[in-house]
């Protein structure tokens, strides 16, 4: 188990979901990017599951 490195003071957030949360963060001076989110694969659960199984991992290193 790795000990968590708590984020440094300069919090920067990707907000996925309720827009009000992005605004509340900006009001505190936090830099926020609001995602234009919608259900993956247009809501097609089978495609979404397929996609999840084919996702990249940042752990993958180029050979």
């Amino acid at each position: 188990m790795k000990i968590v490195d708590l984020p440094a003071d300069d919090l920067q957030v990707v907000n996925i979901g309720l827009e009000s949360f992005a605004q509340d963060l900006r009001d505190q001076g936090v830099v926020v990017v609001q995602l234009d989110w919608r259900p993956p694969a247009g809501g097609n659960a089978r495609m979404a599951a397929l996609l999840a199984s084919l996702e990249d991992d940042d752990d993958d290193e180029a050979s």
């Binding site: 694969a41 495609m47 084919l54 991992d57 993958d60 050979s63």
Partner: protein
């Protein structure tokens, strides 16, 4: 290999590729598998019974050019009889816009991807309006076809030899910074081509010949398109067949279906019905006259040109419809479905950001954003020609099918 690594390899090969226009040759001499009575067409494989009006028109014109038939009726009968061998140009290292018909006696450009020793082929671009690729085959079209193959081609061949070849992708890189997207807007690239060719034409040709050739190339407006398309194909073909790569290597339409190919699944096509095109029409024509999306020219989009580079070519909206803001938004959306940015093709008004490169089928399916295509619109009736221009997209079904096939192949 992980998908990420495979895709990085695909991008690396794409970036190492180039496109030199080196020769004009007879199709039967250089196009692999170009046997007698072979008719290559744009898009994924399609038979005569399903061919759309303009493609049938182009087949008719080609049959008469070859001398296989002397009238349109004879040509139709020949096609329906099963005597002709139809196949996708893509299967033969060849490519063509709109109906993209290539037959043995036609002269073809030879474009070479030198790094990978890969040659690709396309016919000469006829111009706009009533032309063979849009399904027109009257005597003016046939006369032009004969002139291009018997008079223009030999002159160009000699000029190319004199020049030692012309670097097409170097022209493209310049033109992209001058507001071209290389599919529907070639206002800079075509003149650049003429500038490169002119001294060599003058060196090898007679004055009247050269004048006629230069005027023709200039009037055609998009003469460079067919070489660019061959160049894009050569660069992408070199990145095909990388197992585990989800990068799209071809997008092509035959007026009946749209198909894509993916590096990791090699030569397999994933198809869906060809969509309608939303756009602006020439006077006297409207949506009811329009043929569905057609042509191999989406190979430009596949390499990050065309609508993917639209942000750098906002003037194209005057031709296909929309606003400059829409042009930027389109490219920004295309960044969402690609894995890299071009190191050589830069858009000045996006702070010289590289064009979106490497369409990833996973990103397309996940976001639902499909590649937009800027394209001309053919009349659905044979013999008429182009009736407008506009925008369409590649059906999501192509990408969903590709994703399933890819996942199955990978699981093995």
């Amino acid at each position: 290999m992980s998908i990420k690594q495979a895709n990085q390899e695909a991008i690396r090969r794409i970036e190492e590729g180039n496109a030199m226009w080196i020769d004009l040759r007879l199709a039967c001499d250089v196009v692999p598998g170009m046997e007698d009575h072979t008719v290559l067409h744009a898009g994924p494989p399609v038979g005569w019974e399903n061919m759309c009006g303009p493609m049938r028109g182009a087949v008719i014109g080609a049959c008469m050019f070859e001398g296989w038939a002397s009238t349109p009726e004879e040509a139709i009968a020949l096609a329906a009889s099963g005597t002709l061998r139809f196949d996708s140009s893509h299967h033969h290292r060849a490519i063509g816009p709109m109906s993209g018909i290539i037959t043995p006696s036609m002269q073809v450009n030879v474009v070479r991807n030198e790094r990978f020793g890969l040659d690709t082929f396309s016919t000469l671009y006829m111009g706009t309006g009533k032309v063979l690729r849009h399904g027109a085959y009257d005597e003016t079209v046939m006369a032009k076809l004969r002139w291009m193959n018997h008079e223009l081609a030999p002159l160009l061949k000699a000029a190319l030899q004199h020049a030692g070849g012309i670097d097409i992708m170097a022209l493209v890189a310049q033109a992209v910074q001058m507001g071209d997207e290389m599919h529907n807007r070639n206002k800079a690239s075509n003149p650049l081509l003429i500038t490169q060719l002119a001294p060599h034409l003058v060196a090898v040709g007679e004055r009247a010949q050269v004048i006629e050739a230069l005027k023709f190339i200039d009037n055609a407006g998009h003469f460079i398109l067919n070489m660019v398309m061959a160049g894009c194909k050569g660069i992408l073909d070199a990145a095909s067949g990388i197992a585990d790569s989800t990068i799209v290597t071809a997008i092509a339409r035959n007026g009946y279906e749209t198909g894509i190919r993916v590096s990791g699944t090699g030569d397999r096509w994933f198809t869906a019905p060809a969509p309608q095109i939303k756009g602006v029409f020439f006077p006297g024509y409207g949506p009811d006259d329009a043929n569905p999306d057609m042509g191999d020219s989406a190979i430009t989009e596949t390499l990050g040109l065309g609508s993917l580079a639209m942000a750098g070519a906002p003037a194209v909206v005057q031709y296909v419809g929309g606003t400059p803001e829409f042009a930027i938004e389109t490219t920004m959306n295309m960044f969402e479905i690609t894995v890299a940015e071009s190191k050589t093709l830069k858009m000045p008004n996006l702070n010289f950001r590289g064009t979106p490169l490497g369409i990833d089928i996973r990103k397309v399916v996940k976001t639902g954003i499909t590649p937009v295509i800027n394209t001309g619109i053919s009349c659905k009736r044979a013999g008429v020609g182009q009736i407008g221009a506009g925008l369409t997209a590649v059906p999501i079904a192509c990408f969903e099918k590709a994703l399933e096939a890819f996942a199955t192949a990978r699981a093995v």
